[in-house]
C-alpha cells in the first residue's frame, strides 16, 4: 500500500539537510512501529521517496514523502504514531493512501509556492505590489544561471505562475518546480532586484515553502489531494 505523508519543517530543523531528513524519517518510522516495506537484497532499506529536497536554511509547510506499507490501522492512527516520535520543528500534517498506480511524489511535482518573508523591517521597495506586477508583466524575464561548468541565459517568465506582495514585508510566489523547469525562489528575487534596482541579499529574507503541487492537466493541486 502506498502512503503519502505531508509534513512541515521549521525552526532549528531548517539546518538539517535533505539526506539527514531521510535518515531521520527512516528512524522515526521504526520508532513509530510502522509496518513499512523494505527492498529485497542483502541490505534491505525502507521504500521511501521524497517529493523534492529542501535546501538547508529553508522552512516548509508543504513537504511530502511517500512510503509503502505492508499493513496499517488507518491514516489517522499512522499520523498519531508518527507525531509521537517527531522532534520540535517537524510536524506531520497529513497521511493519505495513494492509488496503487499513482506516480511517486518526486515524479508528481509540478509547482511549488513560497513565501519570502523579510526577517526584519519591510522590503526596501516603494510600492512593492505594483513593482512586482510590472516585473511580471515584462515580455521576458531574463536570468543568468551560473553553474561551475557553464553560464546559461534563462527566461523565467513562463515558469512564474503567481507573484504578489503580502503587505510590505513578504512576497508570495508560485513557480515551476518540475524536474525539467525548476525555478528557485531566490532566482526570481534576484531577477526582481535587478529589475527594481534594489539590493536584497538572500540572508535578509526567510524562504518558506508553502505547498507542493501536482499538475492534473487543467489545474495544480496539492500533492496530498491527488
Amino acid at each position: 500500500m502506498k502512503i503519502r505523508i505531508k509534513f512541515s519543517k521549521y525552526g532549528t530543523m531548517k539546518y538539517i539537510g535533505h539526506l539527514d531528513m531521510m535518515r531521520f524519517f527512516q528512524k522515526a518510522i521504526r520508532r513509530a512501529g510502522i509496518d513499512v516495506r523494505y527492498s529485497e537484497g542483502f541490505s534491505p532499506h525502507q521504500i521511501m521517496s521524497f517529493a523534492a529536497p529542501l535546501g538547508v536554511g529553508m522552512e516548509s509547510r508543504g513537504e511530502y514523502m511517500d512510503i509503502e506499507v505492508l499493513s496499517m490501522d488507518g491514516t489517522q492512527e499512522m499520523k498519531e504514531a508518527l507525531a509521537q516520535v517527531m522532534v520540535e520543528g517537524v510536524e506531520i500534517l497529513s497521511v493519505s493512501i495513494l492509488p496503487d498506480n499513482a506516480k511517486n511524489a518526486m515524479a508528481s511535482v509540478a509547482a511549488a509556492s513560497y513565501l519570502l518573508q523579510k526577517k526584519s523591517g519591510d522590503y526596501p521597495t516603494q510600492d512593492l505590489a505594483g513593482k512586482l506586477q510590472a516585473f511580471l508583466a515584462q515580455e521576458t524575464i531574463p536570468y543568468t544561471k551560473e553553474t561551475k561548468k557553464s553560464v546559461v541565459e534563462l527566461n523565467l517568465k513562463d515558469g512564474i505562475y503567481e507573484l504578489a506582495a503580502v503587505g510590505d514585508n513578504a512576497i508570495r510566489m508560485m513557480v515551476n518546480a518540475s524536474s525539467s523547469g525548476n525555478i528557485k525562489p531566490g532566482m526570481v528575487m534576484e531577477a526582481f532586484c535587478a529589475f527594481a534596482g534594489v539590493d536584497i541579499p538572500a540572508k535578509d529574507y526567510q524562504i518558506i515553502k508553502l505547498e507542493t503541487y501536482a499538475d492534473l492537466g487543467h489545474k495544480f493541486v496539492p500533492l496530498d489531494a491527488v
Binding site: 525552526g11 532549528t12 530543523m13 539546518y15 538539517i16 539537510g17 539527514d20 535518515r23 531521520f24 527512516q26 528512524k27 522515526a28 518510522i29 521504526r30 520508532r31 512501529g33 523494505y38 542483502f42 541490505s43 534491505p44 538547508v56 536554511g57 516520535v85 522532534v87 520540535e88 520543528g89 540572508k203
Partner: protein, 622 residues
C-alpha cells in the same frame, strides 16, 4: 520555540550546523528553575566522534534520570566555528539549553585518548573559564576529568579541579549531593573541593604537589591537608547487571561514527596482553546478564529507531552467553531488518557461522590481531594467538567465501628483533598462501585474496607490565616500518598484501603524555597558545610546533619516552590504585623479558590484585 546560541548567519556559514543546534531525539530539556545542579558533559573532539561514545550516553542518561540534575552535552567546535567564536567572543554553550557552559555548576570532560589534550584547553577557553584550576573564581564551574587517561592525570592536572577515577555510575550522586549541601551551607569552592577529596574515587590535584629527584624522576608527593588520602582507589560497578544503562540514547541527526545501538556486554578482559592498558585498568571482568542484554537490546532499538546494533566489549568471544545472545539478536533483528555489527570476534567455526548469517561475506573482511610477527614475541606480550590458530581460522574463512583479511601488528615492542619484524611479512604471506591452497581456482570469487597488514607503534602505558619499558624514537620507528615493508616486498604473494603504517610523530608525543608528569602541562599550554588543536586529526597535527614548544619549555622529550625505568622508580601515577598491584605488573614485566606467558583469568588466577573488588570473575567474588 527553541533558540540557538549561534545566529542564523553563523549556522548557515559553518560546516554541518547540526553539530551545534541540539534538539536530537531523546535529548533532554529541563526547566532550569526546577534543577539544583547543571552539568555540562563534554567529549573534547568533534560532534561525530563525541556522540559515538558510550560512556557519555550512560552518564547523560543517569544524570538526567535524577530530577534535580540537568546534564547537557558539549563537543569541540570544529575549526571553522572555533574561529568565529573567538572573533565574536561567543561563549561555548550546552547543546540542550544553548546557554553558556560558564553559567553551569560542573563541566565534566571525558579523556579517552591523550591526543585530545589541547582540545581540553580549547573547551575551557571558548567557555571563558580560566585554563588553570588555580585561577578559577567562586562562580566558575567545577571542572572534572574522567575516562582512561585519568589513570595518569598528572600531565593535565593543572587544568582540572578534580578527577573522577574509575566508573562513573557509583559516586556521582554522592559528589553532586555534597555540592548542593556545600552550596546551601554557603561553603566556598575550596570547602567543596576539600569535602570532595574525601569521596572514594575523587582526586583533587590542586591539594598535592609532585616532588622530584635531582635526576628528574619523581621522588614523592606532598599533600596540603593531613586528612587527604595518599592513594585514590578507582571506582567500580560490582554488579553490572543491576546498574544504570541508557534505554533512550540520544539519536543524532547527522551521521556519526557509531550510528547504532551499542550494547555493552561486559567490562574488563581476562586476557592480560602486556601492552594493553584497558586489559588491566578495567579488571576484573564482569559480565552483564544475558536477560538484561536481551531486554535492553529490544528497548533501545525501539526507542532510537537505529537500523544497527553493535556489541561492545574488549573481547566479545570471552562472553560466556554469547551464543544465546546472538541467537536472540539474529532472530529479533532479522524480523525488523536491523543489522548486527559484530566486534572483532576470535575467528573460529562458531564466529564464522554467525558472521555469515549477519554480514555479506563478499563485502566484509576478517580481522586478526596477532600484534607481533613471531611466536617468541607474541609470548613476550602474552598474546595467546598462535600461527596455527590464525592459519586455521583463515582457511575456514576462505572456505566460507571471505577473500579479505586485515592483520594488525605493533612495531617497537620490548625485545623486538629483525627476525620478529620479518615474521610480519612471513605471516601475511602464509595467509595469502593458505587462500591459494584452500580455494580451488574455479571457485575464487574475484580470482584473488586481499591481505591488508597494518602496523602501529608500541607506546608503553601506565598500569601495564610495560610501564617500565623504553619506547623507540621516531627514527627507529620509521626504520622498523621500512624493514616491515621490505620484508613484505620479499614475499612470494606480495602482490596480495597491502601495507599501512601509523604516523610516528604523533606516537612519540602520545608516549610523552601517557607517562608524563606535571611538568608536561606547561608544554601543552604553550603548544595550544601556538595554535595546536585537534592533534588527533593528522591534517591538524603540527609536529614542528610541538617539538619547538618542548625545547622552549626546557622539557626533554626523550626523558619520558626512550628511557627504560628502574624496577623501583616512582611513577607519577603510583598514587592511583586500580586494583592491579605494582608487584603483579613487575612480575609480568620480568616474565615478559623471559618470554614466559601467563594464563588468562579464566584458566588460572594470577593474583593481580583486582580480587580486592570482590566481584566478576575473581575467585574472591561472593
Amino acid at each position: 520555540m527553541r533558540k540557538t546560541a549561534l545566529s542564523e548567519e553563523i549556522l548557515l556559514q559553518v560546516e554541518k550546523p547540526a553539530r551545534y543546534i541540539g534538539n536530537e531525539v531523546n535529548s533532554v530539556v529541563k526547566n532550569r528553575e526546577d534543577v539544583a545542579v547543571r552539568f555540562a558533559m563534554c567529549f573534547p573532539d568533534v560532534y561525530e566522534i563525541g556522540m559515538s561514545h558510550l560512556g557519555i550516553q550512560i552518564l547523560y542518561s543517569m544524570f538526567n534520570s535524577w530530577e534535580d540534575v540537568w546534564c547537557e552535552r558539549v563537543y569541540s567546535p570544529w575549526v571553522d566555528l572555533d574561529r568565529i567564536m573567538r572573533e565574536q567572543n561567543i561563549p561555548l554553550f550546552g547543546l540542550e539549553s544553548q546557554e553558556p557552559v560558564k553559567d553551569m555548576d560542573f563541566l565534566g570532560i571525558t579523556l579517552q585518548y591523550e591526543m585530545c589534550y589541547t582540545n581540553i584547553l580549547q573547551i575551557l577557553e571558548l567557555a571563558q573559564i580560566p585554563l588553570l584550576a588555580a585561577e578559577r573564581g567562586e562562580d566558575m564551574p567545577i571542572v572534572i576529568g574522567g575516562g582512561p587517561c585519568t589513570y595518569n592525570p598528572e600531565p593535565i592536572a593543572d587544568f582540572f579541579d578534580l578527577f573522577y577515577i574509575g566508573e562513573g555510575e557509583t559516586q556521582y550522586r554522592r559528589l553532586l549531593d555534597w555540592y548542593v549541601e556545600n552550596k546551601q551551607q554557603g561553603g566556598s569552592r575550596q570547602s567543596f573541593l576539600r569535602g570532595a577529596a574525601q569521596i572514594p574515587g575523587i582526586y583533587v590535584p590542586g591539594f598535592y604537589e609532585e616532588l622530584y629527584h635531582e635526576d628528574g624522576t619523581v621522588s614523592g608527593r606532598r599533600k596540603q591537608y593531613k586528612e587527604l588520602p595518599d592513594t585514590v582507589r578507582k571506582e567500580i560497578v560490582t554488579d553490572v547487571s543491576d546498574t544504570f544503562y541508557p534505554l533512550k540514547p540520544v539519536v543524532p541527526f547527522i551521521k556519526v561514527t557509531q550510528d547504532r545501538v551499542v550494547l555493552e556486554i561486559q567490562r574488563g578482559c581476562i586476557r592480560g596482553c602486556r601492552f594493553c592498558q584497558a586489559g588491566q585498568i578495567y579488571r576484573p571482568v564482569r559480565e552483564r546478564h544475558v536477560d538484561m542484554l536481551k531486554r535492553y537490546a529490544v528497548e533501545m532499538l525501539n526507542n532510537t529507531g537505529h537500523e544497527e546494533i553493535s556489541l561492545s566489549s574488549l573481547s566479545s568471544s570471552d562472553y560466556s552467553q554469547l551464543n544465546e545472545l546472538l541467537d536472540f539478536l539474529i532472530d529479533e533483528c532479522g524480523r525488523k531488518h536491523i543489522n548486527i555489527s559484530l566486534p572483532s570476534l576470535r575467528i573460529d567455526a562458531f564466529s564464522l557461522d554467525v558472521m555469515s548469517k549477519v554480514q555479506d561475506v563478499k563485502k566484509s573482511s576478517l580481522t586478526f590481531a596477532p600484534e607481533a610477527g613471531s611466536q617468541r614475541l607474541r609470548d613476550v606480550i602474552n598474546k595467546g594467538l598462535t600461527e596455527e590458530v590464525i592459519l586455521k581460522g583463515a582457511a575456514l574463512a576462505f572456505e566460507g567465501g571471505w577473500t579479505r583479511v586485515k592483520l594488525y601488528f605493533m612495531l617497537g615492542l620490548p625485545t623486538e628483533t629483525e627476525e620478529d619484524i620479518k615474521g610480519i611479512g612471513e605471516l601475511s604471506n602464509k595467509i595469502a598462501a593458505t587462500f591459494f591452497e584452500t580455494v580451488p581456482k574455479d571457485k575464487r570469487v574475484n580470482g584473488k585474496v586481499q591481505i591488508v597488514t597494518s602496523t602501529s607503534f608500541f607506546i608503553p602505558k601506565p598500569f601495564t607490565p610495560f610501564q617500565w619499558a623504553a619506547m623507540c624514537t621516531k627514527e627507529t620507528f620509521l626504520e622498523k616500518a621500512y624493514q616491515t615493508k621490505k620484508g613484505i616486498m620479499e614475499q612470494l604473494n606480495q602482490k596480495s598484501i597491502k601495507y599501512n603504517w601509523h604516523e610516528a610523530d604523533v606516537s612519540v608525543l602520545e608516549g610523552v603524555f601517557a607517562r608524563g608528569d606535571r611538568r608536561i602541562a606547561k608544554v601543552i599550554l604553550e603548544a595550544y597558545r601556538r595554535g595546536c588543536l585537534f592533534d588527533s586529526w593528522s591534517e591538524y597535527f603540527k609536529n614542528d610546533v610541538w617539538l619547538q614548544c618542548f625545547e622552549d619549555c626546557g622539557v626533554d622529550l626523550d626523558f619520558y619516552t626512550t628511557r627504560e625505568r628502574a624496577d623501583d622508580e616512582i611513577f607519577p601515577w603510583d598514587f592511583i590504585d586500580c586494583g592491579v598491584t605494582r608487584q603483579f605488573l613487575l612480575r609480568e614485566w620480568k616474565k615478559a623479558q623471559e618470554g614466559v606467558v601467563s594464563p588468562n583469568c579464566q584458566v588460572q588466577c594470577q593474583g593481580c590484585g583486582a580480587g580486592t573488588f570482590q566481584c566478576g570473575i575473581c575467585p574472591t567474588a561472593p
